[in-house]
């Protein structure tokens, strides 16, 4: 593999997301400009200019027309994907940590951090067809958190929202009533990433407690758990193989005391069922903060604390299943 190195960000990456067809890659970093790339050759298409703080998260609509980003400047912004025009700004009193469109894109969930006297909240807002009619008045507010919420995702035909956060608890919320349906303490420490499998039946959570867990979306039952020996910052599920891609590595604060080999900054592939490590791909000089599989499973992207995004297109001997 000869990966593409994308040096568009000056600060650590926070999240990577492919659109549905997999031709576009969206990246968020702690600098202020979310960026759009071609996933095939890594060419930069544009940057979304308007945020005044670290961009924590993003989500793209199914038809790749709208992008939602959440930033530490206490706002979330809705963008036109192809022109980079800022369509609407949701203003909050605390940093926006997680965003997610609902499946039909009529709704969106936006979480805010604990800040000064405010407690974390997940705001569910209605996304209108016409941006001029957009309002930031939430239709539902999910409260009762004490720690920040790092990931949210809709499931069960938008009746349920799943949240995962710093307290290591994963909760299933009833979107209609705003009550918790189920909750489970899955990790001892902060959950950094949670990604659904493409059919939505199960998901993977990555935590600072060095564990990566495969979780049933309906029951929050832990199906499998892997000990990765190092903090796991991100995990993704391969759409074509029974594989989990894990990115992580030593905490950024301890990086200078170890070599890049000992730090464990490789992207690691683990078999989903046998829980055995299959292999790894090296490259980053610091911990990996974000990983994503392209929807066709033939390529993956990793974003590191070092500010680089690496797009890796798999070789044929990986795709022919020789590594399974």
């Amino acid at each position: 593999m000869r990966p593409y190195l994308l040096k568009g960000h000056e600060r650590p990456l926070t999240q990577l997301k492919y659109n549905r067809e997999g031709d576009l890659l969206f990246s968020c970093a702690k600098d202020h400009h979310p960026t759009l790339w071609f996933s095939e050759d890594g060419a930069r298409i544009g940057t979304y200019i308007g945020h005044n703080g670290a961009v924590n998260t993003c989500d793209v609509s199914m038809d790749s027309t709208r992008l939602l980003t959440g930033s530490s400047d206490s706002s979330a912004k809705l963008w036109e994907v192809e022109t980079g025009r800022n369509v609407f700004t949701f203003k909050y009193k605390a940093p926006c940590r997680a965003v997610s469109f609902s499946i039909d894109e009529q709704l969106a969930a936006l979480s805010t951090d604990p800040f000064m006297t405010t407690t974390p909240v997940i705001n569910i807002v209605r996304i209108s067809e016409d941006p001029s009619e957009q309002s930031d008045e939430p239709v539902q507010r999910l409260t009762g958190f004490s720690k920040k919420i790092n990931r949210v995702t809709f499931t069960d035909l938008n009746t349920v929202l799943i949240s995962a956060g710093e307290d290591g608890i994963v909760r299933r919320w009833d979107v209609e009533t705003g009550k918790v349906k189920e909750e489970a303490q899955l990790h001892d420490k902060e959950i950094r990433d949670m990604q659904l499998y493409m059919d939505g039946t199960h998901m993977v959570t990555a935590s600072v407690d060095k564990m990566v867990k495969l979780v049933d979306t309906q029951t929050l039952e832990v199906l499998k758990s892997f000990n990765t020996d190092r903090p796991a910052n991100a995990a993704a599920l391969s759409p074509i193989f029974d594989q989990v891609l894990i990115g992580g590595g030593q905490d950024a604060a301890d990086v200078t005391t170890t070599s890049d080999r000992a730090g464990g900054f490789q992207s690691r592939f683990i078999h989903k069922i046998f829980m055995e490590e299959i292999g790894s791909v090296r490259g980053h000089f610091g911990p990996i903060n974000a990983v994503a599989f392209r929807p066709d499973g033939r390529s993956f992207a990793t974003g590191g604390e070092d500010g680089y995004i690496r797009i890796n297109h798999f070789d044929n001997d990986y795709l022919s299943g020789r590594f399974l």
Partner: protein, 285 residues
């Protein structure tokens, strides 16, 4: 005639137009030959022949994505991008998918395995075991191990590993643990020239190989017979494709002989291998 006047013979030379450039191919193997003619500084005609290999890569993409690719225009910071900014770089280094190696067996595990084998082989009727070649090779190796365990044959030469006793290490040098050339190690009886000749004798030629066969495949196929010193696959200089034959050098001639006996006519990757002792250099010339 005045010296300044240009003679018709010279002008004819000057006007001599270059032969037309030709492009041949790509042929079946994808080799394209481009011939161009140009004048160098001295006015001499130079013929430049460039051979390139053309390969087609077909990729399917969504219509929506293809349409989007032609429609998208740069925006934001990307509009200010210069050609030399190198925001996107393809890494020159090839980054492999590093497969995790199975952890090595401990000495206890190896011993337990040997015991198992001993009891298993005790009652087995050799002629009754009929299986694929792979099974047979495995059985042979195990038999050899068994014979070794009984002390019927001498231990094969092998590099010392951490499992072996320190006392069995070759100690021919003045310093213990210092480098000892193979010819001076304990058990080495032949001179350098002799070993060279022997090595050539142990070379096995493999023909009718499939083009996809790589060194590792051959190693996998031949290593059950015994230690291998070298594997060479002939590649086409122009296309980089395998030419369908290879040489495998064994450390021991007996191993080579067994490999020839067993693998000649063996089906491999839909082709029937031809395995024979390589002719010595003198005969080939």
């Amino acid at each position: 005639m005045a010296a300044t006047k240009i003679r018709w013979g010279d002008t004819l030379d000057e006007d001599d137009s270059l032969p037309t450039n030709t492009i041949i191919g790509p042929d079946k193997q994808g080799v394209k030959i481009i011939t161009t003619y140009k004048k160098n500084d001295k006015g001499e005609t130079v013929k430049v022949v460039t051979k390139t290999r053309v390969s087609r890569v077909q990729r399917k993409i969504f219509d929506v994505a293809a349409e989007r690719k032609s429609r998208l225009r740069r925006f934001g910071e990307a509009t200010k991008e210069q050609a030399g900014d190198s925001v996107t770089v393809q890494q020159a280094e090839d980054i492999p998918f590093e497969r995790v190696q199975k952890t090595r067996q401990t000495t206890e595990e190896k011993r337990a395995e040997k015991e198992d084998l001993r009891s298993a082989l005790q009652g087995s009727d050799k002629s009754a075991v009929v299986g694929s070649l792979r099974d047979m090779l495995y059985r042979r190796r195990m038999e050899r191990q068994l014979a070794l365990a009984r002390g019927q044959i001498a231990a094969p030469e092998r590099p010392p590993d951490e499992d072996s006793d320190a006392s069995t290490l070759p100690q021919a040098g003045s310093k213990p643990g210092g480098y000892v050339p193979p010819s001076r190690r304990a058990g080495a009886t032949m001179s350098d020239g002799d070993s060279m000749r022997r090595r050539e004798e142990n070379s096995v030629r493999v023909t009718n190989l499939s083009e996809d066969t790589r060194e590792d495949d051959l190693r996998e196929l031949f290593s059950p017979f015994g230690p291998i010193s070298r594997i060479y696959i002939a590649y086409d200089r122009e296309t980089g494709e395998s030419r369908g034959f290879a040489f495998v050098n064994f450390v021991h001639r007996e191993d080579a002989a067994r490999a020839v006996a067993k693998l000649d006519g063996h089906g491999y990757d839909n082709l029937i291998l031809r395995v024979e002792f390589a002719a010595p250099r003198a005969e080939r010339a």
